[in-house]
């Protein structure tokens, strides 16, 4: 397993999942692939965290899930953002941007 890729920041996985699902419903494997692809493989989602995270979000009613069948005939559990999830996403994104801005400022000025 390549280990030089960045670990996901604690707590950001939930946000990334919500963000990815904001564009449309996906199943677990596709979510992992999508996060990897968008981040140009810089972020690798560990399966050990992905599924617990998905279940946690489902319990919080931020996601809803349903079983579906892929064109290749596999049964997959497709996750979809709920209204609550959408609200949560925009809050988290706003928080994240504030935090990123603060860190950027520190990195720029604290030399």
């Amino acid at each position: 397993m390549p280990s030089d890729r960045s670990d996901l920041l604690q707590g950001t996985l939930d946000m990334l999942i919500l963000k990815v699902l904001n564009r449309g419903p996906l199943h677990g494997y596709a979510i992992a692939q999508r996060i990897g692809a968008i981040s140009r493989a810089l972020l690798q989602v560990p399966q050990g965290s992905l599924y617990p995270a998905l279940h946690r979000l489902e319990n919080k009613r931020l996601l809803s899930a349903a079983w579906a069948r892929t064109p290749s005939g596999r049964d997959v559990k497709v996750y979809r953002l709920t209204t609550q999830g959408r609200r949560q996403l925009s809050e988290e994104v706003a928080d994240w941007e504030r935090l990123a801005e603060a860190i950027r400022l520190i990195l720029q000025t604290a030399e």
Partner: protein, 903 residues
Amino acid sequence: MRWLMRLIRRNRLEDELDRELASHVEAEIERLIADGLTPSEARRQALAAFGGFEPIRERAREARGTQWIEHLWQDIRYGARVLRKSPGFTLAAVGSLAIAIGANAAMFSVTDALLFRPLPVERPRELVFLNRAGYDEPTLRFSYPALQRFRQGVPEVPFAAHTSIARTLFSVDGPSELVLGQLVTGDWFDVLGVRAEAGRVFTAADTRELGGKPVVVLSDDFWMRRFARDPAVIGRTVTINRVPVTVVGIAARGFAGLTIGTRLDCWLPLTMQQELRFYTNNSAEDADPRKPWLPQDGISFLTVVARLPDGIAHTAVPARMAAVHRQSVDSQAEKQFDPERRAFVRREYLELMPAWRGQSPLRETFTKPLQVLMGMTALVLLIGCANLASLILARGTARSRELSLRLSLGAGRGRIVRQLTTESLLLAGLGGLAAVAVARWGADGLLKLAATTRVPIPLSLPFDWRLITFAAAASLLTGLAFGLMPALRLSRAGLVDGLKAGSRVTSSSGRETRVPFGRVLIIAQVTLALTLLVGAVAFVRTFKNLLSEQTGFEREQVVSARFEPVLAGFGKEQWPALSERLLDAAQRVPGVRSASLGMTGTLTGVMRIGGGIVVEGQPPHVGPEWTLREEQVGDDFFATMGMALVRGRDFRRTDGAGTQSVAVINETMAKRFFGDVDPIGRHFGYGSPPEFEVIGIVRDARVDGPGRPVPSLAYLLLRQHPDDIANYLYVRVTSAPDTAANTLRAALSSAEPGLAIREVTTLDELTGRTVARERLMSQLTSGFGLLALAVAALGLYATISYSVVRRTSELGVRLALGASPGSVRWLVLRETLLVVGAGCVIGLLLAVPALRYVGTLLFGLSPGDPVTLAAATAVLLSVSILAALIPAMRAARTDPIRALRTE
């Protein structure tokens, strides 16, 4: 509730998770194959990249938030397995818990019903009883005109009233039976908010006219008992005290009047008082009880109940009610010429008493006993807890290998404590379940024991959430009480210790860490058991003292017959002939030496009390402490009852209607009213000049039962009081009293078939009833005392045996080095005696204040009674020594060779 759904759907969720993870791996394999790998290589790489399934499963479960429940479930299943493996221990523990918790729940059930349960009426907290305060005891008696004055003076408040409960003769097509009835105002049910179960209840129209309407409402209980809930009863005509009345309806189910602990059978219109011959408890002054009671202001016989909604309870309304009463009191006082007497009347004022619990004569009698019994059952439960804790501790030490293993395999200490506590809670839970059944049975038994007759006290004990909650809470607390401490102790046990030592170790008592706690538990058991034993001995001695007290009359050989001539329709005109006939029949019964009559009777609780006594040559006596009991008796009364005349003469046949009214007074009255003056030949009475001449003094007798105070009592001759009719006939027999009682009943019935004979029994039996409370206390407390003794002895035996087993090798070494068996025996016994001695000292220190607290319930012994304390201590000590002797003997028989080899 979502976590519950998740828990229930646990298996499905687990399956789904597995499917989802499998689907993920398949997708990865597909991708790798598409990248050009062989299927097997793709599968290998995909699985390797994925890592283990199990950690993901575990974390997903955590994410579901149901893990604690799953752990709990695990603990319960594990605990159940552990308990199943030692069925003897489990059975003993559950059984003793069931008894201990059950006894507590039974006490709670009865206490709750008697003291804390609101009446089954609408908004009971709004109801108040009107009380004529200012006297020593609450006086809930008003005249009908007084009720009307309240209604007119405070029209916005609904007032209703009822009489005291009276026995009434009820019949429908056939023989009559005595039932309990009560007269009520027409709006009574309305004011209380009690609806009809069937038919209708009374309305104001039913009591609009004096003498009307001939209707009756039955209680649901009576309807079921007598008519099996037959709806056809409504509209039928029945007779009550020989008056035909129509059943108009049944009162709501569960409603049995405002008197808790009495099973009321029917309600009748207040306006029928005279027609129904309802002569209930009353206070009369300047009144004629033979005329209808309602118009007379001098006859107070009504309990007035009013509804004060929250809105007006704190306004001027109560003050206006008080003002109405003040006016009546003042006009009463005006009529008194004597200034002292006027001041006495003026002391009275109106008080509103909360009525949500109803009235209950039982409450006063049993509040303190119930408190004591609840305390004792709680102590029994505590002893049980200490006992179980020491058992669990002993078992736990045996399980130390298992616990050490689990600790070393990474179980957290918290997890172990939780596991052990769960086991204890499981035991407590099982015990609690069984306890509910024990409680039902025990509470019914309690009502049977507390009753004065063979009929249990009719207190309804609903099986409801209050009882369940109590049992559940008690079980939980019990489980924690006996489970938590051992669990904490055991989990602290050294990890290495248990594994290394192979569980059977030599341990010189010096570096023991666990025994002190075990000893504390034993001391606690001994202490509590001694306290309970002291209580038991005290109550048993009280009961014995009461029964052996001289009552001042013959008990074994006097039979009392009670009958109701008035209800049976006999008036004062027929009475003289009837009494002659009855006495004649009684005297002809074989074995009867003499027979006589009494109006209110001895040991009956019925009494006639007069106030405002005038004594010749003395200023008038005012106040409740100057009241006088009077009893109208027939000829030969004192000879029949075996009461000795101290001075003067007995009644004579020449004392008749036309001659001077005469009285025989008791010693208490002579002392109280006459002091040093010789009363013989002097006069006393209610009028001026006083009408009765004292002809004799009779020795004091405990007419209300042993242990009860002797009232000032004047015996008057029935023949000189033609308005009064006797209710009791007494015979002195020389034969066996039981057979004489049966023959007497038959003789009286054939002499007058229409007479309602209630009961024929010996004075000894009646005496027993007056000490029913003390009998109950002595039986229950000795039961609890023995239980506590047995539990403590078992605990002691188990603990000592266990310590002997653990010290086998030490004892073996001692024996091998030449210690005599006797010295080894003494070694073990000494340990026991130290522990028991400490328990006894603390127990005695606790017992003395405890006895002082129950002092009012004791008779014939002081709170520090040395005999009681010594007896209890002796019993406890000897049983403890017996319990310790068995393991001590076993210790002395230890074979040194085998003991050393077990190492």
